[in-house]
Symmetry: C2
Subunit: 621 residues, 2 copies
């Protein structure tokens, strides 16, 4: 159960009955990875046979047995050519950050801690802006945009007719028409309603989009905190989180060799990587918040931007005048970044330097296409503090900063709470959309009660499903260890799956075209007692299979024709099938009776309710 | 982990830092059990010191060390005197059911399977109705009604002022005034909006109320299914579920000696016990649905009513003409009861005998005060089938039957789905309230996606929190093993806690007066790094403590002044405290400066944002 006992190998086993497929682009030479789950049983949707279900795949090359994994080489830089062809960046001869330079020169760092053949960083050529928003505003559909359009649609073209029926109520008009086109993606990015976090120095990442008119995404935090783990174990944490469904990861490491660890993670991460640069900046001043300076922070931004971090959480909205609003709170300031900056502001009696230097921050970000995730440093840490003046004051400032960032063509998302009772969740989304001009919302949970430490993946999955349904674009996961300790691998898996559930529940609620397709086939498999297909289609096939086998089945390949909840006599699905068979027989008997002139029997049957079930042929339709 | 390895002892350890208290009634000699959690730290709410938090307690006498537990004697019949004093029942000389009589006479049953000294059954004297609804309609406030009024309010009198501020938006007017009085309880029962399941033959149960103007309740299903377990293990299943918070249990056993097992469970259950009598009736006809008869079913109702079952799930709404509506469903009929009756109806070409005999059923129920939980035999078993014509047709019939039952003064609740996407949940509550005249709604989940077998306690906790918030009165739990296998003890605990979270999230959303009190004190404890109080106030103190200790603390009594998520340098709560201390110091410096005429310093301070934090005295308020 504990990660300590797990050998730090990289998880590369493909999911059962799954193969990696690559869908080609029509505009650009993109090749979009998806997972195709093949079915052993026969399924039909609207008369069409279904032999496989294609699902969104965040696991990267690790689950493709045709790709050799070597974490010392890193993943293939699939975006490199796209970036080069835009002809607006240059390779730097050396890293720009003084800290990064000193790390390179530092002979005391053990060689095996360094990623071999660190790539040279790229940067926009002078005067150029290289953000996806910049291209979008210019009307350019980038390969990244086409990639995410294909990725969001899954194999939509094939399933268009089947999926249409599932289109729901709250979804955007474009989606109801099944039109997640590259042009729609471009338009959403140009309007600031969606972002593609895609640093030019992280060409290994598979493009993904965060916005409320797309699938709800989830983020998993990883990080070693105070405890030092090996490099392979750090990489495995990222791979493991992506394996179960993390759409982005945030590296919140605070230990030794944080620079080197990050390099390994970025080079091996198939998803965008986010960080909170103030954490590392604080390390550089030995944890004394008052000693932080704009220069140290600026150097940290450049250091991380040139390593390839795709988005930064920046707590620029923690203004001096807001801090007093937290004085009577039950849980004061619970955001780490928020409290660091509050302390800095009070110590210096000055305005938050992230706020006063925000233009300069944007100048840096737009030269690498690092997205800014405007941090909610004053988010509530308890239900008692939910939706209070401090929280909403900061939100207004985040809106102001959103506009500043957009003037620089920097991609923006807005971070949100935290701890919010269920009836106050909707207000958070409404206010965020209004105050922040529909920039994508990215929330932590929210937790809907404070009384269940040890189960906060559940208290927060409830809030996350609701806020996603109302329009939140990305959900930051919470593990069972939240508030109590550091998550191990099992906790990460529990947290990621709980959040995949929340995100999917939200997608279904929003009526995403095709989102229910997987549910429907799994339900058909369940009804047919096709256990293998049921396991294979589930979010966690291993656990589903394990739970089932522990109770009932002796051999793994054994097929049970009743589920273990009820046993053979009571199984309702079995009885329903008998009812169907019986009804079919009745329908046939009725036909025979009519043919042979046995009117009496047919009359009796009709009086008792008429034709109950349809013929086998009709059933199959 | 597995129940198979757990010694089948009865769990009687009190919760940490908790003692059982008994609050006396003012009208009747009732003594309402609650759990008082004492606090080690200092807490204030609105200037008043708080040294303990009293919580709703479903665990019964098992967690009172002053009460000796002997499952062979059963629990003390606390309601016996109340029942006797109503003088409307009589003790029968022998059990009325033929099956029960034959069981008593059966010499092949091992003596140790029989509960010793089985009590003689009671029944209403001829012409009398002994239901809580009957008394309520007559204007009588019973001891049961006063009991639940006190129980719902907790020690409301003491906390009235403190709690008032937490009263929220959706709660009934009576509750906003803090008036869960015995009279309010009576009125809600008379109107059919709430029920107290309280069979006169289950005097051991502590009264509880199910209705949308009260705390949201949860039910845990227990039952041995095909696998035979020992008697003590069966009793422990019930005790265990109640320990973690089950408000009622349903005994869905289908194995051998079902009659004897039920006796043991009822005699030892501190909460109401529900059953689905058709399951046992089907056993009596060797599992052949077509062979079921009204006589066998009727005898089963009497058998179970005289044992003390508090509510029966009766699938009387599965009408012949509705069955064909399920033919094109993805998952047909998934309710066991529903499918049994569908098969019976089709086989005989007759209307459901539970529907045609519903008046006679009510005649039986009102002689013992067994509540009827009108089963949703046609509930959807997949998202694809949610809110369909079959489901809502049956619901309309359940409304018709509600009226019939109320004419007999039989207490009614309405069962609901199942599998429902998040955006279709609200419609279920609205339709139920309308079609069934506001009878309490009792739902299974609902699961908000089908793709996560192994995690269905989470997929359904999302739905359960929402439906509870919208007005569902009781939530039937789902364990992680749903659809896959039989839950073991650990699964039962996971399921119960997930549902306590959902129910509490709903109570908070509804603005139940005082519901947030526990959250607020726990959050204060969290902010003070008082780990013990944080654990003790949580829904599962054991797990919270265990998770914390595994990561950080060496000795159990060790106190950590930072939480393990961030470590000592980064802990945001620690920094916030430093910010507060700093601000306090500044405030004092300002005072000194003024006193010593150092105007310049004060002016600088004020220009930089004025007085940031209040004095320690003000903070304490």
């Amino acid at each position: 159960m504990s990660s300590q006992t797990v050998k730090p190998e990289i998880s590369t086993t493909p999911f059962p009955a799954s193969k990696k497929i690559y869908v080609k682009g029509k505009i650009h030479p993109v090749s979009v990875a998806m997972r195709e789950i093949s079915l052993s049983g026969e399924y039909k949707v609207e008369g069409k046979s279904v032999s496989s279900v294609t699902v969104y795949d965040t696991s990267g090359a690790y689950t493709d047995p045709n790709i050799e994994i070597d974490i010392k080489k890193g993943l293939e830089p699939i975006r490199k050519q796209w970036i080069l062809e835009r002809n607006d960046t240059e390779e730097l001869s050396e890293v720009s950050s003084k800290f990064a330079q000193s790390q390179q020169a530092n002979g005391t760092i053990e060689p095996e801690l360094r990623f071999p053949n660190e790539p040279k960083p790229r940067k926009a050529t002078t005067g150029k802006i290289v953000t996806q928003m910049h291209y979008a505003k210019k009307g350019i559909v980038t390969p990244e945009m086409e990639y995410v359009a294909i990725r969001e649609n899954q194999r939509y073209e094939e399933w268009k007719d089947l999926c249409k029926q599932h289109a729901g109520m709250n979804w955007g008009a474009a989606l109801r028409k099944g039109a997640i086109t590259p042009e729609f993606v471009r338009d959403e990015i140009a309007k600031g309603r969606a972002i593609i976090p895609a640093n030019i120095n992280h060409p290994e990442a598979e493009p993904m989009i965060i916005g409320r008119n797309f699938l709800v995404k989830i983020n998993a935090n990883i990080g070693n905190s105070a405890v030092r783990s090996g490099i392979a174990e750090e990489v495995e944490k990222a791979v493991w989180a992506c394996r179960w469904g993390a759409d982005t990861i945030m590296d919140l490491s605070t230990g030794e060799h944080i620079h080197q660890t990050r390099e390994w993670i970025v080079r091996n991460s198939p998803v965008p990587v986010g960080t909170v640069p103030i954490y590392q900046a604080l390390e550089k001043v030995d944890g004394v918040a008052e000693d932080l300076t704009w220069e140290i922070y600026r150097d940290t931004l450049i250091e991380q931007a040139e390593q390839g971090v795709d988005y930064f959480t920046i707590h620029a909205g923690v203004l001096l005048r807001y801090i007093q609003l937290t004085a009577k709170r039950t849980t004061g300031i619970v955001s780490r970044g928020g409290s660091i900056l509050a302390k800095w502001c009070l110590s210096h009696h000055q305005e938050n330097f992230l706020y006063t230097h925000f233009d300069e921050i944007c100048e840096i970000l737009k030269a690498y296409d690092v997205g800014v995730s405007l941090g909610d440093g004053l988010r509530p840490g308890s239900l008692a503090d939910a939706n209070d003046h401090a929280q909403f004051s900061e939100l207004r400032t985040l809106g102001e900063l959103t506009n500043v960032a957009w003037q620089h063509d920097v991609q923006v998302m807005i971070e949100g709470p935290g701890h919010i009772p269920i009836h106050l969740i909707k207000e958070n989304v409404e206010k965020e959309l209004e105050e922040c001009y529909e920039a994508p919302f990215y929330t932590l949970g929210p937790l809907t009660t404070d009384i269940a430490p040890g189960y906060d993946h559940i208290t927060s999955a409830i809030g996350a499903a609701n806020i996603g349904w109302y329009g939140c674009a990305m959900l930051c996961y919470v593990t069972p260890k939240e508030h109590l300790g550091l998550p191990n691998k099992e906790d990460v898996r529990e947290g990621v799956i709980a959040y995949k559930i929340a995100a999917h529940a939200a997608d279904l609620g929003k009526g995403h075209p095709g989102a229910q397709f997987r549910d429907n086939i799994l339900s058909q498999a369940r009804f047919k007692f096709n256990w293998q297909d049921q396991f294979n289609l589930s979010l966690d096939p291993e656990k589903a299979k394990d739970f089932h086998e522990k109770t009932l089945v002796k051999r793994p390949d054994e097929v049970t024709h009743f589920c273990s909840m009820c046993g053979p006599k009571f199984c309702s699905m079995k009885i329903t099938q008998e009812v169907r068979d019986f009804a079919n027989k009745q329908a046939i008997d009725e036909k025979s009776a009519l043919e042979y002139g046995l009117q009496k029997k047919a009359k009796e049957f009709k009086e008792a309710g008429g034709k109950i079930y349809v013929t086998p042929e009709e059933v199959k339709k």
